[in-house]
């Protein structure tokens, strides 16, 4: 019935919008309008881990919430992206080497399914899903047969050996603050 009519938008439309959106196959998706502090703080910590190791890295940039334009109908905004050798200034045109998404309740399905498939198809080498509630990260590595989970990370360090400038993430450092707060709470009881 006509009521299920969907309008398809393009990057040209997307560019003009106010507010925070993603565009997937021409369909508009809202980004969480007021993300939790922990979400934003984890974003910053992950980006910081990359920046620390890549500050002298000429070929690569660490980008936060930058437009990643996959095609005319699909524009994503990864929380953190490590992008190498991409000359385009306006948006990320080349598939990032690494993408990290911090999961919130409202975006879980989108990050774990739709964006998972898109990043996999586009050749993103590593996909990191960060779970703020569990203080845990899942890392997937791309292969001939798609994303394969390398493991669950709570306080380990993982190094991305086949990425230029070989960055590492120390998850103990990333989650430390909140883990300590939790432990303090538990000690009281």
């Amino acid at each position: 019935m006509a009521l299920s009519y969907v309008e398809y938008y393009t990057y040209e439309d997307y560019k003009q919008w106010e507010g925070d959106w993603e565009l997937i196959s021409g369909v508009v998706y809202a980004m969480s309008p007021n993300p939790m502090k922990r979400h934003q703080a984890l974003n910053a910590k992950i980006a910081a881990e990359f920046v620390e190791d890549m500050s002298e890295c000429v070929e690569c940039d660490v980008l936060i919430e930058q437009d990643y334009k996959i095609d005319e109908y699909t524009v994503l905004r990864p929380d953190v992206a490590v992008v190498c050798n991409d000359p385009k200034e306006e948006y990320i045109a080349k598939a990032p080497e690494i993408v990290a998404e911090v999961i919130s309740l409202s975006t879980a399905k989108r990050d774990e399914r739709v964006k998972f498939e898109l990043y996999e198809k586009e050749g993103v080498k590593y996909y990191i899903l960060v779970y703020p509630e569990d203080l845990r990260a899942k890392i997937f590595k791309n292969s001939e047969s798609g994303f394969k989970k390398i493991g669950d990370f709570f306080s380990e360090t993982f190094c991305f050996d086949n990425i230029a400038c070989k960055p590492c993430i120390d998850f103990e450092k990333v989650f430390r603050k909140w883990r300590e707060a939790e432990q303090k709470r538990e000690l009281r009881f």
Partner: protein, 174 residues
């Protein structure tokens, strides 16, 4: 594939967004950011005449692009309309709605909103084509929209509304 994935939003989400949007059955639609100046002018002139009409109806208001919330998942901002009752009550069904058609909005106005307004019981729906200097007015009869006026330069007079309207279309076109 990504195409099968649909997220449905509600008025709660809608309220938090920046920019100009409509929400129909939980699906987001962008409002055209650049309506042509001539279209805005036509909208404004229709509004001006509706404001005149509502002078005689103290409880009725002529509004432009104001929110109308039909359901939790459906909030639209019709170009020009009249509603009667509490001004701040966005759930009141308008008496009459006019949508000014631009190239990008044809399908949305002629199909999607046509069916939506019909379903929600909006008594009169006017589709205004500024480039053709023409307006088609539909009346809700037994749950269907029947075209009752096809106007170019004439005066539109509708008596059977809570607030009767009078629009001289020769003064509306640019």
């Amino acid at each position: 594939m990504a195409l099968d994935y649909i997220e449905r939003y509600t008025y709660e989400d809608y309220k938090k967004w920046e920019g100009d949007w409509e929400l129909i059955n939980g699906i987001i639609y962008a409002m055209s950011p650049f309506a042509l100046p001539s279209h805005q002018l036509v909208s404004g002139k229709i509004l001006a005449q509706l404001l005149e009409s509502t002078k005689n109806c103290p409880n009725c208001h002529a509004l432009m692009e104001s929110e109308v919330k039909f359901k939790d998942e459906t909030v639209v901002r019709p170009d020009v309309f009249i509603k009667c009752g509490e001004l701040d009550d966005i759930m009141i069904t308008p008496e009459i709605i006019f949508e000014v058609i631009s190239k990008g909005s044809i399908k949305r106005d002629e199909l999607l909103k046509f069916n939506l307004y019909k379903q929600e019981g909006v008594r009169y729906y006017g589709l205004v084509y500024p480039d053709e200097k023409r307006a088609k007015i539909y009346k809700l009869i037994n749950g269907e929209y029947i075209k009752v006026f096809d106007i170019k330069e004439d005066v539109l007079k509708i008596e059977d509304l809570k607030c009767p309207v009078n629009i001289n279309f020769s003064e509306v076109w640019f």
